[in-house]
C-alpha cells in the first residue's frame, strides 16, 4: 500500500479555492450570455387569472419571456410526488414563487421587462403554520391532499404500552423547532446554452445532483436525455439545499431554448433563501419510559412538519424523522406518528441531518431530563442502552459497526466530565448528547435497477490514472477521497491520480452528493475499479517486482489506452424493512457521534457563550482525517447556528430573514474551540471500513448545548433557537415560580 488512504490530505482543489482561481457557475458566463431575471409572486396564495407578457416581449433587448404556459410538465425529486412547476401554473402557493422569467441583453433591460409584466390574480386564504393549514375548512393547497397533509406515517415496532407500563418513570414533553435554511455561501446560479441547429442543451449549475437535474430538465423540456449535457462546476456548499433539481435551473434551461442562446441566471441572496429547501418548522411530542437503571423501555413520538407549498423530499423527511428513532440505542418498542403538512411558504428539503436533527434534540433532551429525575449520570444512561453490532433494529435497519461506546468514552475523558461537571460555578454548565446518521440511502429515489455507483479509471500513454466520477464535489472533499482510495489500491502516489468529476458526457452517472452516500458507495466503486485495473496490470506483466510504469507499458502495448469500470450496489438485505416507507433510513452503515458542550450563560442578558466542544465521531475509517475533522467542525458550526441564532421568520409569508445580516449564521467570534476525536469502528461494508463523516455530528450539538444550559441555569429549552430573550423569559419565570413557592411555604 502506498498509504494514500488514512493520511491527512489537503483537498485537491484547495489551491484553486484559496487563490480565487476556482470557477463557479456564475464565473463561466461569456460576454454573449443573456441575463435572466425572474418575476416572483407578491401573493401567498392565489388563482392566476392572467399573466400578460406582451409589453415585456416588445421591449428592445428582450430575447425571451416565459411563463407557466411554457412548461406543463410537473417535476419533483420523488417520482411519486411531482407537483411543482418551474413557473407557477393556475395557482400561486407562496410569496416568491416564480411566475415568469425574462432573458435580455443586460440586467437593466431584464429588470425593466419584469416591471412590464401584468399579473391578474384572485387571492385565496393562505396558511403559514401547520395547525392553520390542518383546520377543517382550510382551502387545500393541492386538491389531492385532504387536510393539507402530504403524508401521514403511523408505525409501531414492539409493544409500546407494555414498555411504558414496565418503566419506573415516564415523561412526555413537546418541543418546537424553527425552520432553518442552509445559508450556503455560493448563491444559486445556472448557465444554460441551447444549440438550436442540433436541438441540444448544455447546462452548468450549482447542484449537488447533476443526474437528477439532467432528468428533470429533459422531462420539463421534453427532450431525450441524450440531448442534454449537464456539467457541475465548482460548487460552494450544498447541505441539502441543492439535492434536487430546482425551479431556477429548469427556468434557465427553458429560457435558453426560448432565446436560442446562452443564458445566465444568478439568484440574489434573497432569491436563494426563497428557493429554500431547508429544515421544516417542526413540532415534536415525545414520550419516553425509563427504568431506574437507565434502560429505556418505550418511546412514542409524534412529529408535525410544516413542509411548505410543494412536496420536494417531504415524504422522505417525515419518514426519516421516525426511522432514525432507531439504530442509535437498543429500544424495545417505538411508536411513531408523523404528519407532513403543506403551507403557503417556500418548500423545505433534505437539509443536512435530513429528518433526524429536531427529533434527536427532543430525544436527547428528554433522556437528559429523565436521567436527572432518576439521579443517573447522562453518560451512564446512554451506556445502559447501547446496541451491540451486528444488530437488526425493530424497523429492519442493519447495524454492522457501532463505535458509540468508544465515542462516549473519548468525550467523557477529554472533557474531564466526571471531575468538572457540577463544579464549574454559577452560570456555567456541561451537557452531552449522542447522534447518528446513515452512510447513504440504500434505496435510491429513482429506481433504475442500475448499480448505485460507477467509477471509471482511465489509463493512457502518460501513465497517469484519470478517475472519472459523476460524484458531485461540493466542497466536502469527495474527489480527494476517491483519489486517495484509488492511489491506495493501485499502490501509486496520490499525484498520479487526476479526478474528473461531474460532466454527464464523460463521467459515469452518479446519483449525487446527498444522504452522505458518496464515501461509501462511490468509494466502493472506486476500489472495485482500482482492483480491476490492478488485476489487468498484473496480468499484462506478471513479473515479480516489476514497477507500475513497466506494467502500464506492457498493458498499453497489448490493449492501447484502457478504461476500466468499477461499480457498487447496496445488497437487498440493507435496503430496509418490508413495512410501508421501510426503505427510508436504510443504509449500509451508520455513523455515530457523542459530544460534550461547555457553556457560560450571562443571566442578565441571556447571552449564551459556547466555551468548548469535545466531539467524537465514528466514521468507520478516516480515509482523509483532515477532511473528517473539517466536516465534523462544520457540523458543530451548523448545529450551533440552529441551536442559538438561526431561524427563518415570515411576515404573512414574506421572509424577514433573507439576508446574511438578518439570518444570523454564527461568525468565527462565536465559534468555540472544537476538539475532534475520530473513532474508527471499521465497518465491513465500507471502503477500507469507512462510513460517513459529514452529517452525523450535527444532531448531537443542539441537545448537548441545551443540556449544558440546563446544567448551568436549570432551564430546559423546549424550543430552538434558544435566543437570549427566551433565556431571559425562562429565568424570569423561574424566579416567579421560586417566589410563589416561597410565599406558599411561608403560609
Amino acid at each position: 500500500m502506498s498509504g494514500a488512504a488514512g493520511r491527512r490530505t489537503p483537498l485537491l482543489d484547495g489551491i484553486e479555492k484559496v487563490t480565487g482561481r476556482a470557477r463557479y457557475t456564475a464565473d463561466l458566463a461569456t460576454p454573449d450570455a443573456l441575463v435572466a431575471a425572474i418575476l416572483r409572486s407578491p401573493f401567498p396564495h392565489a388563482k392566476i387569472i392572467s399573466i400578460d407578457v406582451s409589453a415585456a416581449r416588445a421591449l428592445p433587448g428582450v430575447r425571451a419571456v416565459i411563463t407557466g404556459d411554457d412548461c406543463a410538465t410537473p417535476y419533483g425529486v420523488l417520482p411519486i410526488a411531482m407537483n411543482e412547476f418551474p413557473l407557477a401554473r393556475e395557482r400561486i402557493r407562496y410569496r416568491g414563487e416564480p411566475l415568469a422569467a425574462v432573458a435580455a441583453t443586460d440586467a437593466k433591460t431584464a429588470a425593466q421587462a419584469l416591471r412590464l409584466i401584468e399579473l391578474r390574480v384572485e387571492e385565496i386564504p393562505a396558511y403559514y403554520d401547520a395547525a392553520d393549514a390542518r383546520q377543517k375548512n382550510a382551502v387545500l393547497l393541492h386538491e389531492d391532499k385532504p387536510g393539507n397533509i402530504e403524508r401521514e406515517v403511523h408505525q409501531e415496532f414492539g409493544d409500546v404500552e407494555t414498555g411504558f407500563a414496565s418503566a419506573d418513570l415516564v415523561l412526555e414533553r413537546t418541543y418546537r423547532y424553527a425552520e432553518v435554511n442552509q445559508a450556503h455561501l455560493e448563491l444559486n446560479a445556472t448557465l444554460a446554452e441551447y444549440d438550436a441547429e442540433r436541438d441540444r442543451l448544455t447546462l452548468w449549475s450549482s447542484t449537488q445532483v447533476p443526474y437528477y437535474l439532467h432528468l428533470a430538465v429533459a422531462r420539463c423540456l421534453q427532450l431525450e436525455k441524450h440531448q442534454v449535457h449537464v456539467i457541475k462546476p465548482q460548487v460552494g456548499g450544498g447541505f441539502g439545499a441543492r439535492t434536487e433539481a430546482l425551479n431556477f435551473e429548469i427556468i434557465c434551461a427553458l429560457l435558453a431554448r426560448a432565446a436560442s442562446g446562452k443564458v445566465l441566471l444568478r439568484l440574489s441572496r434573497e432569491e436563494t433563501f426563497l428557493t429554500h429547501r431547508g429544515r421544516p418548522q417542526t413540532e415534536v411530542k415525545l414520550k419516553l419510559g425509563m427504568r431506574s437503571d437507565g434502560r429505556i423501555t418505550a418511546c412514542a413520538c409524534e412529529v408535525v412538519q410544516r413542509g411548505g407549498a410543494y412536496a420536494g423530499y417531504g415524504i422522505v423527511t417525515i419518514l426519516y424523522a421516525g426511522a432514525l428513532l432507531h439504530a442509535i440505542y437498543d429500544i424495545p418498542s417505538i411508536k411513531y406518528d408523523g404528519y407532513r403538512v403543506y403551507a403557503n411558504l417556500p418548500p423545505c428539503g433534505a437539509m443536512r441531518g435530513h429528518g433526524s436533527v429536531d427529533v434527536r434534540h427532543a430525544f436527547e433532551s428528554l433522556v437528559d431530563e429523565l436521567a436527572g429525575e432518576l439521579g443517573l449520570d447522562p453518560f451512564a444512561v446512554r451506556r445502559a442502552n447501547l446496541l451491540f453490532a451486528p444488530a437488526t433494529t425493530p424497523n429492519g435497519l442493519r447495524v454492522e459497526s457501532y463505535g458509540l461506546s468508544e465515542c462516549l468514552d473519548r468525550v467523557e475523558a477529554a472533557s474531564a466530565w466526571r471531575q468538572r461537571r457540577g463544579r464549574l460555578g454559577p452560570g456555567r454548565g456541561l451537557g452531552m448528547a449522542c447522534s447518528h446518521y446513515v452512510s447513504g440511502a440504500a434505496k435510491p429515489v429513482h429506481w433504475t435497477g442500475e448499480p448505485h455507483a460507477v467509477v471509471n479509471l482511465r489509463l493512457d500513454f502518460d501513465g497517469g490514472v484519470t478517475l472519472l466520477t459523476g460524484a458531485a464535489e461540493i466542497g466536502q472533499g469527495s474527489s480527494t477521497v476517491m483519489a486517495q482510495l484509488a492511489a491506495n489500491e493501485l499502490e501509486i502516489p496520490l499525484e498520479r491520480i487526476r479526478v474528473f468529476a461531474g460532466d454527464s458526457m464523460l463521467t459515469p452517472k452518479d446519483n449525487g452528493s446527498y444522504s452522505s452516500r458518496v464515501t461509501v458507495m462511490v468509494g466502493n466503486a472506486t476500489l472495485d475499479a482500482a482492483r480491476r485495473l490492478r488485476e489487468k496490470l498484473q496480468a499484462a506483466l506478471p513479473v515479480p517486482n516489476s514497477s507500475f510504469d513497466e506494467k502500464v507499458a506492457a498493458l498499453l502495448a497489448t490493449e492501447g489506452a484502457v478504461t476500466v469500470s468499477g461499480s457498487f450496489t447496496c445488497p437487498p438485505e440493507f435496503q430496509g424493512g418490508a413495512h410501508r416507507g421501510g426503505a427510508v433510513g436504510s443504509t449500509m452503515s451508520f455513523s455515530y457521534a457523542a459530544q460534550v458542550v461547555e457553556v457560560a450563560v450571562d443571566v442578565d442578558t441571556g447571552i449564551v457563550t459556547v466555551e468548548k466542544v469535545w466531539v467524537a465521531h465514528d466514521c468507520g475509517f478516516a480515509i482523509n482525517p483532515l477532511a473528517v475533522e473539517g466536516q465534523v467542525q462544520g457540523s458543530i458550526s451548523m448545529g450551533m447556528g440552529q441551536a442559538l441564532s438561526e431561524q427563518t421568520l415570515h411576515a404573512d409569508g414574506l421572509p424577514m430573514h433573507a439576508s446574511m445580516l438578518a439570518y444570523g449564521v454564527p461568525t468565527i467570534v462565536e465559534t468555540p474551540p472544537i476538539e475532534v476525536h475520530i473513532v474508527e469502528s471499521l465497518d465491513p461494508n465500507g471502503p477500507l471500513g469507512a462510513k460517513e463523516a459529514g452529517e452525523g455530528s450535527l444532531a448531537s450539538f443542539p441537545p448537548a448545548l441545551t443540556n449544558a444550559i440546563a446544567d448551568a441555569i436549570g432551564f430546559r429549552a423546549g424550543e430552538l433557537p434558544v435566543t437570549p430573550d427566551r433565556i431571559l423569559d425562562a429565568l424570569t419565570k423561574q424566579r416567579r415560580n421560586r417566589e410563589q413557592i416561597a410565599v406558599a411555604q411561608a403560609r
Binding site: 416572483r40 407578491p42 401573493f43 410569496r95 440586467a107 437593466k108 429588470a111 440574489s268 441572496r269 434573497e270 442578565d604 442578558t605 441571556g606 447571552i607 441564532s645 421568520l649 411576515a651 414574506l654 421572509p655 424577514m656 430573514h657 433573507a658 439576508s659 445580516l661 438578518a662 444570523g664 454564527p666 461568525t667 468565527i668 467570534v669 462565536e670 435566543t723 437570549p724 430573550d725 431571559l728
Partner: protein
Amino acid sequence: MKAFSEFMVLEPRTIEEAIAAKTEVSGSRYIAGGTDLIANLRRGLDDPTLLIDVRHISRLQSMDFTAAGLTIGSAIVLAELARDKRLRRRYPALSAAAAAVAAPAHREAATVGGNLSLDTRCLYYNESAWWREANGFCLKHRGVTCHIAPGGTRCWAAYSGDLAPALLVYRAEVEIADESGTRRVPLSELFEDDGAAHLRLAPGGLVVSVRLPHDPWPAAYAKVRLRSAIDFPLVGVAVAMRVKNKRVRDLRVALTGVASRPVLVHDTNTFVGSVLSTAALDRLCDLVQKQISPMRTTAATPFYRRRVAAVIVRRLVSELAG
C-alpha cells in the same frame, strides 16, 4: 440584490465643491465608505444619479489632538479610531464604540461621518424592492403606513449608529457645513426623533468633523447584539461619570438602537451627590427605561431590548464607579 442604475462619481477636493455638487444635482448622495449606502442602493432604497465621494477632502481626513480637545474629521475610518492608542486612553468609550461596529473589513471602509449619519433601520425597510412592494411599501419609503405602528403617522425605524452615544456622553460638538457656511452645534442637534427624517441637515449639509472636549469624564461603551460581530446593536449604551468620595459628581447616559435617534438620557443630574447603592442603580435604570421606546424594528423583542438596556447601564455605571 439589484443591479445599480448608472451613476456618476465625483471626487471633490473641497467642502465647497462638494456642497455645490450636492445642491445642484438633484438625486445626488454623499458617499464615503459606502458600507451603509451601497447595501441600501442594492435594495433599491434610492437611485442616485451622482455619488459625491467626500473622502478626498483633506479637512475631513484629519485627526487633531490639541489643548482645546480632539477634532476628528468625518472621513476618518473607524478602524483608525479603534487603533489609535491616545484615543483609547483618553476617550475609551469612543474607541470601544468604533471597535464594536460591524466587522473588521467594514471598519476599514466605514467612516465617522457615515456612522453618525447612518440611515435608520427597520425589519420592514431593509428589504428588497420586491419585498417592500409586496408588503405595500412603508412610511419611510414610498408608502403611507408604518408597519410597526400602523395607526400612527410617524416612522419608527431605529437609529443604530454606535459612535453617537459615546460622543453624546463626551458632550461632543459636530461641525456642519452647508450653503450658508459652517457652524458647530452640540451633537444632539444633528438628530430628529423621526425614523423617516432623522438628520437635521439643510440641503447639501455635510458633517465635517466632531470635536470632543479636552477634559473628558471617564466613560465606557457596550452593546448587545445577537452575534458578537457584524450585527447592528439591539441596544448600545455609553456612560460617562465622575465619582468623588463614592458619590456621583457627574453622570451622563446615552443609548442607541432604541429610538429613531440616539437618546441622551435627561435628568441624570438628579443622581449628583448620591451614593451608587443598589436602590440608586434601580432608580437610574428606571429613568433610562422610561426615556427609551424600542419598537418592533428588530427580530429581538422590544421588551428584551428595554431589559438589556438597563442591564448594560447598570454594568457600565458599576464599572466606572470602580
